[in-house]
Amino acid sequence: MNSATQKPRTLAEKVWDDHVVVKGENGEPDLIYIDLHLVHEVTSPQAFDGLRVAERPLRRLDLTIATEDHNTPTLNIDRVIADPTSRLQIDTLRRNAEEFGVRIHSLGDKEQGIVHVVGPQLGLTMPGITVVCGDSHTSTHGAFGSMAFGIGTSEVEHVMATQTLPLKPFKTMAINVDGTLRPGVTAKDIILAVIARIGTGGGQGYVLEYRGSAIRALSMDGRMTICNMSIEAGARAGMVAPDQITFDYVEGRDHAPTGQDWEDAVAYWKTLPTDEGAVFDAEIFIDADELEPFVTWGTNPGQGVSLSQPVPGPDDFDDPHEKVAAERALQYMDLVAGTPMKDIRVDAVFMGSCTNSRIEDLRAFASIIKGQRKADGVRVMVVPGSARVRLEAEAEGLDQIIKDFGAEWRFAGCSMCLGMNPDQLAPGERCASTSNRNFEGRQGKGGRTHLVSPLVAAATAIRGTLSSPWDLSIDTAFAPTEEVQA
């Protein structure tokens, strides 16, 4: 194709175009090739069953990998899983993996962990590829400049059987985040602010591309946090253009390309960023300088405010649905409109999940709590995203800092992000959580969730009320600047 005459394209369009197996005509979807299929125990059993019934093989075992994460306990992992239904699901995955020949990393394996932590750390996630998994947080992998999205179980079976998916092209939305984050403000605060801005349905039908100087300045771990929560804005996928930070992260990992393959890959990856003059279907702008630590008050991830704000009430919304939703949320969360967010006392702090359980997240958390003691009566749980992250943290001595603080240091898994394994809130318990969803009952029936960054989780664990590092009297690198205090 003549590049001089070619229409400028976005990153998402380029990756899409390079995966079209059959172009759909007359309103039919395109058939898209899938480079990497991640599998876990919850959304796969019925898909394997489907293959068996239809007597179909799994087409590309070499593009498929499984791990155990949702059901797995984070304590006593060498014992038989106590819950029989969880055990059955894990056993089913192991049996299916063996029968079909799928590579699997089981509980106790060095590479076991949350599926979205495992892919990147093995060097399987890379720019310019398509990644799917029966899990909505597959959007995480878009941080590398890949097209990555969650699928349902029927689609899991479809990918197993064909290594493709019939898909309608997405619209594109640019999320421009320019400026410099203040110390104490992180990737998590950016994405919570984005979701509060566009709402939980704002991204429906779109692929989001996060752009601008504040995004470029983020590490891969930070970019993954942002792309991870694209789904909370309704977008199936979020992407960041690959750059030197991306290449440096991928290079040398177990499954990263080597030699000439590496050279070819990087040359191609450098062509991926959105062309000058490419048009997005929608665009929003966020000023990074203005952002503060952010926290949710309600029962969907769009119900968030800066930590310095009070709890909003129904009267703060014009939209009738939002008014009703706010009323319901306040009731469920047992909050009164007008209460300063910082006065809200928590029972638990959860540091983990595919949003914030990578090594940098643990380092950030540890940097705040080092030498401190957790607040009385607050239960603090720290759960690394993978067995490898756990080992890495222990090699750096982070586990000791966490234990000295009075927190629990657990084994890898989804843990208290969702009420599927033993790690759950009791009814009525309130939790500051670095996870991604504050839905009713998400962390356990009747549990109340406030979504926060690792830094806010740490400060909250120290004070016992929702807090940011700016509220700590201890001398940290995160002390507020004067203008913030003013």
């Binding site: 090739y33 919850v42 070499d62 059987a161």
Partner: protein, 204 residues
């Protein structure tokens, strides 16, 4: 998948927006390894409240759920669709669906019809006027009928065709087997492979 052309049954005025899939079916019920048996799990949290609409006698045996905007947000769990189907729902109407939920619906014979918010309000009013009232959703003509009210609904043309014909997606795709093989032969060498397992000498 069975062919679907028209559904007539009790409609439920479900006045809630942002119904996420954790509400439709909480994670604790996702541990089954089969596709059926999820009817008790549907809206499990909300059903503990005796006043919840699906607990009211008028709505027993309902087939059409008429919901507010942003239905099916959050987790990709197809169990949400299985639970709605197991409970007896054949249709969900909403002004806006989450992408993954809509995709899952089309693959499991659940019609996810998009209706403008103002029309949803009109349907709600009619259903509330006479709880337990029947309504019809016709996929062929893409219309919703409640008494004298008849309005159109949106559904992706390809999904509609597959539902009407009861077609299996995988069989359709495998008609392109040759194109898939040709595509595979062109794939670059640098693209990731999970096998054979490669391992660095030690921890990083």
């Amino acid at each position: 998948m069975d062919k679907i052309s028209s559904v007539t049954g009790v409609g439920v005025p479900f006045r809630r927006s942002n119904v996420d899939t954790d509400q439709i079916i909480p994670a604790v019920f996702l541990k089954r390894v089969t596709k059926t048996g999820f009817d008790d799990a549907l809206f499990h949290g909300w059903r503990q409240d005796p006043g919840f609409i699906l607990n009211q006698p008028a709505y027993q045996g309902a087939r059409i759920l008429v919901a507010g905007p942003d239905f099916g947000t959050g987790s990709s769990r197809e169990h949400a669709v299985w639970a709605l189907r197991d409970f007896g729902f054949d249709v969900v109407l909403s002004p806006r669906f989450a992408d993954i939920f809509r995709g899952n619906s089309g693959k499991q014979g659940l019609v996810a019809g998009q209706v403008p918010e103002s029309d949803i309000e009109r349907i709600w009013a009619l259903l509330e006027e006479e709880p337990g009232r029947e309504m019809t959703v016709d996929l062929e003509s893409q219309t919703v009928t409640v008494g004298a009210l008849s309005i159109g609904f949106d559904i992706d043309a390809y999904t509609r065709w597959r539902l009407l014909e009861g077609l299996d997606d995988i069989a359709l795709t495998l008609r392109n087997e040759q194109a898939i093989s040709e595509f595979e032969s062109r794939r670059e060498r640098w693209r990731p492979r999970t096998l054979p397992v490669r391992q660095s000498a030690g921890a990083e």
